[in-house]
């Protein structure tokens, strides 16, 4: 087999190749955007569901003074849904960039839901004489907090160790007035990572042992190992 060849450029070949390559690129962008939009919709739907749950619980709480503490205490589904939602937002942040406007909107919404959940927990605790352990975690992902990644993992491990522990993460730089108020209430000075454990602020990296020393109440929470042993 030999080749009868064309040395002279054929414009159609150049243009066809360009059109096909452009089509492949356009398809890749389209597919990627399609799935990203699906993810955003997924997060938004979950957030809306959580918002409805919180509102519903608040309303019940306000309407029925005699609302069963047992019912409310068992309704820990909110926090359990907030945690994976945070992970999904973090994934989107890594893939879409921290300055994506849609993502920032979702993060603001997420932070508001967290604050609403904190307030609700405080109400429930007062009414039902519960003593939940609450940790607020303030981080930054603009490169000015070298220990934030490690601190995040430590809190994940801590939350796994103590399933009833309530950990709320906040992007310190997020432009949200309710968040500014929350940081002002706790007199945070901007040093990160910052942890508010049982209402008291702590700065810098804290290991699980550090946090157990700071909040002895942690050790009184049922741990995942003890839960497994009971089972």
């Amino acid at each position: 087999m030999a080749m009868i060849f064309m040395r002279t450029p054929k414009t159609t070949t150049y243009l066809t190749a360009f059109a096909i390559t452009a089509l492949v690129f356009a398809t890749a962008f389209y597919i990627s955007n399609y799935f990203n939009s699906k993810r955003v919709v997924n997060v938004r739907t979950t957030q809306d569901q959580i918002a409805i749950d919180i509102l519903s619980l608040e309303t019940q709480f306000d309407l029925l003074a005699e609302h069963s503490c047992k019912d409310i205490a068992e309704n820990s589904v909110l926090s359990r849904e907030l945690q994976p939602l945070g992970e999904r937002l973090s994934y989107l942040e890594n893939n879409r960039g921290a300055n994506d406007e849609e993502l920032l909107r979702l993060k603001r919404y997420y932070s508001l839901l967290e604050i609403k959940d904190i307030l609700l927990i405080q109400k429930v605790a007062a009414k039902c004489k519960l003593k939940p352990v609450v940790i607020l975690y303030f981080y930054s992902n603009t490169g000015d907090c070298k220990d934030c990644e490690r601190q995040g993992y430590v809190l994940t491990a801590l939350a796994e160790k103590y399933p009833t522990l309530r950990v709320y993460s906040f992007d310190y730089n997020l432009d949200l007035s309710a968040l500014k108020t929350l940081t002002a209430i706790h007199d945070l000075d901007g040093e990160l990572p910052a942890l508010v454990i049982q209402g008291t602020p702590y700065y810098g990296f804290k290991s699980i042992e550090d946090m157990e020393k700071i909040a002895p109440a942690l050790k009184k929470l049922p741990s995942s190992t003890s839960t497994k042993e009971k089972q």
Partner: protein
């Protein structure tokens, strides 16, 4: 983000060129040339330049003697270019055959060996066989079918890897299949610019007209291809003319070989820079040569990008592991399936590479691509930048390269 744009441009150019070659290949008019009868076959001289080729010289000569070609029209000249081992003695054992001539000369480089034979030959065509290669018995008859017109100055064969053993040789086996497609498609657009050492044949009158071989930064076969193109000659490819070549078995020897090739290309590209972007040289000037240079930098850039990403991911995994131990990063969910544009484009490039390997295999008479194709697809992109980077630095510093 700005770096992402550079990556997108690199990916676009790489994909564009592959699509361009594929269209040219589909568009090409292939003719199944009928083999010439013995009486019409031209006279041919094959040069075997050798310098310390003790391990492979006997095999190469034996394969040449087994060529299916009229004995009175075939001359084999072995040029011992100042070997210090037993190459000469081994070659001398074959001088019983009247087709074989053995010359011993002072070491001067491959181009001097070729020019020595060129100046004395009376044959119509001259070919070369590196002493690390062997030919199939019908290869020369196939090659001759490529010289269809007077302006065809050279015909290149289909080069395959001889008995791959090490992982690197298996990877090269796939790479050579891909090269078979590339050479064929480049020939389709009149843009072959290398006449490889293993069994390329040239029209003696054309080589003499352009002035014979030069040292050309230790890549005389590349420079000859570019010079023939510069003078308006055509170079044809016949992949069924199969040549088996021994490839480097270790990373060190592979890098040394490829640094020489890439260095030679870059320095020759500089010498022939007037051809770049020049429509006088058709597709070669407009797209092939510019893309060949750009692809060197693209390959380095893309590999750096991927390694940087993998490094970052590994760092996060290690930090996570140091705190959480073995722990699934997140609950398994379709939500976390990577659908980034770069990954999708990489998959498209991978699909395109597989297609071209399949075509290359078919062109050279193989039914299927090598089994090592998946290994090639995973590792090749990370190995190539090793020699590309070294070659770019050395070419920039004009350090020169040696054969060994």
């Amino acid at each position: 983000m700005s770096f992402d744009i550079v990556v997108y441009i690199a990916l676009f150019l790489a994909l564009y060129f592959e699509v361009f070659l594929l269209i040219s290949f589909i568009d090409s008019r292939r003719s199944t040339a009928t083999p010439l009868p013995d009486s019409k076959l031209p006279t041919v001289t094959i040069v075997v330049p050798c310098f310390n080729e003790e391990p492979g010289i006997a095999r190469s000569i034996a394969s040449l003697l087994a060529l299916d070609y009229p004995k009175d029209k075939l001359s084999i000249t072995i040029v011992d270019d100042g070997s210090t081992d037993n190459t000469y003695e081994i070659a001398r054992a074959y001088t019983f055959d009247p087709r074989v001539t053995l010359i011993k000369k002072k070491n001067g480089g491959k181009h001097t060996a070729l020019n020595l034979v060129l100046s004395n030959t009376k044959s119509e065509f001259i070919g070369c066989l590196d002493a690390d290669s062997t030919v199939q018995s019908d290869a020369l008859r196939h090659i001759i079918t490529g010289f269809t017109d007077a302006d065809v100055a050279a015909v290149t064969p289909g080069i395959i890897v001889r008995e791959p053993r090490s992982t690197l040789q298996h990877i090269q086996n796939v790479e050579y299949r891909l090269s078979i497609f590339h050479r064929f498609a480049l020939a389709a657009i009149g843009s072959v610019f290398i006449t490889p050492g293993p069994f390329s044949f040239l029209r003696v009158s054309a080589v003499r007209a352009v002035g014979g071989w030069k040292h050309a930064h230790s890549t005389e076969d590349m420079e000859m291809g570019m010079r023939l193109q510069e003078h308006g000659y055509r170079i044809v490819n016949v992949p069924l003319a199969r040549v088996e070549t021994t490839t480097p078995a270790t990373l060190r020897t592979l890098i040394r070989q490829r640094v020489r090739w890439t260095y030679g290309f870059l320095r020759n590209a500089l010498d022939y820079r007037h051809m770049f972007g020049n429509p006088t040289y058709g597709n070669l000037g407009l797209i092939v040569l510019p893309t060949a240079v750009i692809s060197i930098f693209s390959a380095i850039l893309l590999a750096t990008h991927v390694l940087w990403g993998l490094g970052n991911a590994l760092q996060h995994i290690l930090v996570r592991f140091s705190i959480l131990g073995f722990h699934a990063p997140v609950a398994p969910s379709l939500f976390y399936v990577n659908t980034s544009v770069i990954l999708l484009l990489s998959l498209a490039s991978l699909a395109s590479a597989i297609t071209l390997i399949v075509i290359g295999s078919r062109l050279s008479g193989h039914r299927y691509p090598p089994l090592s194709t998946p290994v090639f697809l995973v590792l090749y992109g990370f190995i190539v930048p090793l020699w590309l980077t070294i070659a770019v630095v050395r070419a920039a510093l004009n350090t020169g390269v040696k054969w060994r």
